[in-house]
């Protein structure tokens, strides 16, 4: 099966909507599971990893929820394919570096994605647009229950699901959401928020997870503790914190517009200026500018422009997605030119930003 044919076009991905998606880009619930009697992937010999891969792949084929899914060993995927999956947040960067003996499973709707032999034998995740933690949990819980009938999980009544790293033992769950927080960044409140979220035992990470930068003002909030708390309790806790962050972000935006409108218009206007006129742009700058433009769309400064425009570009300008549009292998410098061309052409029909809609009238 060809992964590139299987994946939905970026335009479709950008049009997926969910509750609170003005601020919450996506919700995710991940479960870590391992098979009894096999060494964890990091310690197992390649033969054992292949055996685990085959066992899991066979179970995947048996499970009705995953019928018609994409299931492939990583040595059958090109580096570009794997990078595409990373840019879509379907697999981790660590997993993309793996090859034979590891695999990936993806359902048609791209709501379920399984990594076989990542840090654990099985890492299954459910993804949803917007704030939908409960739905994501319900979906992955059901899949996990289906799979456990075919796979003998390593489980201890005292310690729960046994994982390669003791930081994941117990429920093996990681509940997370990706948030777009330009208001909190512009108003310089983000560090205080990150610190107080950390104090609650939750982690705040960058765009691509652990150890990555918060490019484009995108932050990932997730639980860290997995032992001693039920999935439900964790879910409720994270949901509550996320709703609070959403409120803080909305307040930050409202306060900025009220107290310092020129600063906000300046940032958004300049971002538009660069995006609409640049001929060379690196992905980092492009993401940061697109983030500001997205804020402008949220504030009603680009009448008639839908958020899916910036969201699609956010995905399309990533290195592997750009490469996909071209036959020959692109060098970084060429990518920066092609990226700028793509953004300019997409923004051709977008007029310069005006003042926010609620304010009404034009000052120009």
């Amino acid at each position: 099966m060809d992964l590139r044919e299987f994946l939905a076009p970026a335009a479709d991905v950008a049009r997926r909507t969910g509750p609170q998606d003005r601020i919450v880009l996506s919700s995710r619930v991940r479960l870590a599971r391992n098979l009894k009697g096999f060494a964890f992937p990091g310690w197992a010999k390649k033969q054992d990893r292949i055996q685990v891969y085959e066992k899991v792949a066979a179970a995947v084929a048996e499970v009705p929820t995953l019928s018609g899914c994409f299931c492939e060993s990583l040595d059958k995927l090109s580096a570009l394919d794997k990078q595409l999956l990373v840019e879509r947040h379907l697999i981790s960067r660590e997993h993309a570096a793996r090859s034979g003996g590891s695999g990936v499973v993806l359902n048609r709707q791209e709501t379920l994605c399984l990594m076989i032999n990542e840090e654990d034998h099985l890492r299954m995740q459910s993804l949803r647009p917007g704030l939908q933690l409960r739905q994501a949990w319900a979906e992955i819980d059901a899949l996990d229950t289906e799979l456990e009938a075919h796979l003998p999980y390593a489980f201890s009544p005292e310690l729960g699901y046994l994982t390669a790293c003791p930081t994941n033992v117990g429920t093996g769950i990681r509940v997370s959401a990706m948030l777009h927080l330009p208001g909190l960044v512009l108003s310089e409140q983000i560090n205080a928020i990150v610190q107080s979220v950390n104090k609650l035992g939750l982690a705040v990470r960058g765009l691509y997870g652990e150890g990555t930068e918060a490019l484009g003002n995108v932050f990932q909030v997730s639980n860290q503790m997995t032992l001693g708390e039920s999935e439900q309790t964790l879910l409720e806790k994270l949901d509550k914190v996320l709703r609070q962050i959403i409120e803080f972000e909305e307040n930050a935006r409202a306060t900025l517009i009220e107290k310092n409108p020129k600063m906000v218009y300046n940032h958004i206007g300049r971002a538009y200026g660069i995006l609409a006129n640049a001929h060379i742009i690196a992905s980092k700058e492009a993401m940061n500018m697109l983030s500001l433009m997205r804020l402008g769309v949220d504030l009603g400064m680009f009448p008639g422009v839908d958020r899916s425009l910036t969201d699609e570009l956010f995905l399309l300008i990533q290195p592997a997605h750009l490469q996909l549009l071209h036959q020959e292998k692109l060098q970084a410098e060429e990518r920066d030119i092609i990226r700028a061309d793509l953004i300019r052409s997409r923004l051709r029909s977008v007029s310069r930003p005006g003042p926010p809609l609620p304010a009404g009238g034009s000052t120009e």
Binding site: A39, F155, L159, G160, Y161, P166, V169, G170, L200, G228
Partner: protein
Amino acid sequence: MKCCVCKEREATVHLTQIVGDKVQKLDLCEECARNKGINDPTGFALADLLLGMSGSPQEEGTAKAGELRCPQCGFTQAEFKKLGRFGCPECYQTFSEGLEELLKTMHKGTRHVGKVPAAYRGVEDMKKRLERLQQELARAVRDENFERAAVLRDEIKHLQARLAAPGER
């Protein structure tokens, strides 16, 4: 107060981490603190520190008794210290000594609460039942109801045998 890593020099660096309602403390000497890369006291987690901690009481104990090795996968304590990960599910049993302390620094609790696979749900029920039967047996013995006690004893034996083979369906 002595440094909790080298246990030789006086501890002058005192760290406290509060996560939720849990307080973790660590007392280090300057040299060990530097070795652990502590210059920004806000930018690290105590768990990471403890994971890579050398000369902890458990390690001294096992070093004397020869290197502890997992019978299932051959993973050693030293490798766990280095990698912070286990070799196989059995390692949780092999390296159970000191594990609870480590888990305490990482998690809310040290016992699993939450989803249980169907294959083990019976086990949980059996355990609860076993507890109840044992209480009942004690009561029967106290009341000198030996007939009842004999029945209970057989049932407990039966349950214990089934529990000895967990996960079997």
